[in-house]
């Protein structure tokens, strides 16, 4: 057992310590979403009149869960970028020639990214009252669990891409062309209710839609107020988010195994 855990914990620990020693990274991953939230949130607040809005939820409040998910996305993806360089030349080569199976290496990397993303997500969670969202203990626990799942899935998605990338430029292109649209079309930015049919359908097939829905459900768990634009039901959202985690992890492990001996 120790032989299995030791490599995992040591790889995980390295990710954390590296991040701690380059704290400016912390700032950059959280600053941009925060600015988005304040500027876009305030700017659209007055004109946000979505179809079917009943509780008069403000845009600042609507946008808040999306911003938390964006922070999770940014942090988990950034945590995986080092894989691209490290694999070809550098630290990761030393890990790859060690007698450690690929699934353990990937799992440890995913845990590292998840931890970092969670830390940042929690920082942002403190601002929830500013969005007018209040939650109790049960809600907090659920919210943290959903955030963990989301962070784990997103980190694995990042790893899945990073393990097959030859350069970090390619990685940034994927980030802009794939990851940002996934986020935009998850209900983070606007609800699917008022969107034209083709767009609403695209959103239905986006796994992050369910992650975001699960997150909204968990935030409003304690209150009688329903989250507006909550999207798909709670159980389905959790199920798909869990599946997303498993599939991306399996995918990342397979990719890592295929790319190396």
């Amino acid at each position: 057992m120790q032989k299995i855990l030791l490599p995992i914990t040591t790889i995980w620990w390295r990710e954390i310590i590296r991040f701690y020693r380059q704290r400016s990274r912390l700032f950059s991953a959280i600053a941009q979403p925060l600015v988005f939230w304040i500027l876009i949130g305030s700017g659209l607040n007055a004109s946000f009149r979505p179809v079917g809005s009943v509780n008069g939820q403000s845009y600042i409040e609507y946008f808040y869960p999306g911003i938390v998910v964006l922070v999770l996305l940014f942090t988990s993806i950034f945590a995986t970028i080092s894989v691209v360089n490290d694999r070809r030349e550098g630290f990761l080569q030393g890990v790859l020639v060690a007698p450690v199976p690929r699934w353990r290496i990937v799992f440890a990397q995913a845990l590292g990214g998840t931890t970092l993303a969670l830390l940042q997500g929690v920082l942002l969670l403190i601002l929830a009252p500013m969005a007018g969202i209040q939650f109790g203990v049960a809600s907090l626990l659920f919210t943290l669990s959903v955030m963990t799942l989301l962070a784990f899935g997103l980190t694995n998605l990042g790893l899945l891409i990073a393990w097959r990338m030859e350069s970090t430029q390619g990685f940034h292109a994927i980030m802009n062309l794939l990851l940002i649209p996934i986020w935009l079309l998850s209900g983070a930015f606007f609800p699917s209710t008022g969107a034209p049919g083709w767009l609403a359908w695209t959103m239905k097939f986006n796994p992050l839609t369910y992650g975001l829905a699960a997150f909204r459900h968990s935030l409003y768990l304690d209150t009688t107020v329903k989250a507006f634009g909550e999207g798909p039901p709670w159980a389905l959202s959790m199920l798909i988010t869990g599946l997303f985690c498993v599939l991306t992890y399996v995918g990342a492990t397979l990719t890592a195994s295929a790319q190396t001996n």
């Binding site: 914990t9 550098g90 001996n261």
Partner: protein, 306 residues
């Protein structure tokens, strides 16, 4: 357990380009073996195969009796690898890097702690143990890399261009360390290099060119193949001079690096005669014992491009 690294008829291709072409050699424990070759000769590919990073696709490799295709895990436990590109995390301290490495190989606690201090002592970096790697000089970093590679007591040590970026003193020290490791611990050391000095320090050398092994043997044996002496001549019109020298002395000059290179038995007499015969065409004449570079030129007909 067998104590040999055996490569048999190893070939490797990337899409269309053939990087290795039927390479065979064998190295014993306690021996330092150098793979010498210019850039693009296939030595990095060979290194990556031996270090288990890319799979064997054609031919066989056996390391201490284990097959590299079917027993990768057993082999990984036996290998210590030093890559050309720094494999240390510069944001971590020296000790943290070594501890991370030890954990990957299942070492922990007191045993690991003791082993780390032992090795830092051995490579002379003890006083920098808690410094971040980024503040260490290139030479010191290389020593930490060596410590890291032998931390788990491997039986086989593979090094890719270990002396690149090191000054002369640090290079000599490194070669001395390797010698001690091979002699006292009976470790099999295999290194790649494009530096002739490093190759001279090996027990045996394999010279790679275009994916093929063109020479294999002790440095002295290989140099003995070249013949007596090597004379390098620089002159104004090299082609004409070349033909003239060939006709007059019955030798075959080779034009490399803008110089005419002539191998001959009694070099000192040849220098005297050639200068007397073509006083106006010759600008410089150099005379020396053959080096491994001459071996390379003789065998491939090409200059050794670094």
């Amino acid at each position: 357990m067998e104590n040999k690294l055996e490569v048999e008829n190893l070939s490797h291709s990337y899409q269309t380009r053939r990087a290795l072409n039927g390479v065979s050699f064998s190295v014993s424990c306690g021996e330092i073996f150098g793979l010498l070759g210019p850039n693009g000769s296939g030595k990095t590919t060979l290194f990556r195969i031996l270090s288990t990073l890319i799979p064997v696709t054609s031919g066989t490799v056996r390391i201490l009796g284990y097959d590299l295709t079917s027993e990768v895990k057993a082999i990984r436990n036996l290998l210590g690898v030093v890559f050309q590109h720094p494999g240390l995390d510069v944001k971590l301290t020296v000790t943290e890097n070594l501890r991370h490495h030890g954990h990957l190989y299942g070492l922990s606690g007191k045993t690991l702690h003791r082993r780390i201090s032992e090795l830092l002592e051995y490579v002379g970096v003890s006083d920098r143990a808690s410094d971040r790697v980024e503040v260490l000089s290139g030479g010191l970093q290389r020593r930490v890399e060596i410590a890291k590679a032998i931390l788990h007591s491997p039986r086989v040590l593979l090094l890719d261009e270990p002396t690149s970026g090191l000054d002369v003193t640090a290079r000599r020290q490194l070669n001395d360390y390797l010698r001690v490791l091979a002699d006292t611990e009976n470790i099999l050391v295999l290194l790649t290099t494009h530096l002739l000095d490093d190759a001279e320090a090996c027990n045996r050398v394999g010279i790679l060119d275009n994916g093929s092994l063109v020479a294999l043997g002790a440095p002295d044996e290989l140099k003995a193949q070249v013949g007596g002496d090597v004379v390098l001549i620089e002159g104004k019109s090299k082609e004409t001079l070349s033909t003239a020298i060939a006709e007059k002395f019955g030798v075959s000059p080779v034009l490399t690096d803008g110089q005419l290179r002539v191998e001959c038995e009694r070099g000192h007499e040849f220098v005297r005669d050639v200068v007397a015969a073509f006083p106006n065409q010759i600008q410089t004449v150099r005379f020396g014992r053959p080096t491994l570079e001459d071996v390379f030129i003789k065998l491939t007909g090409n200059p050794f491009v670094r």
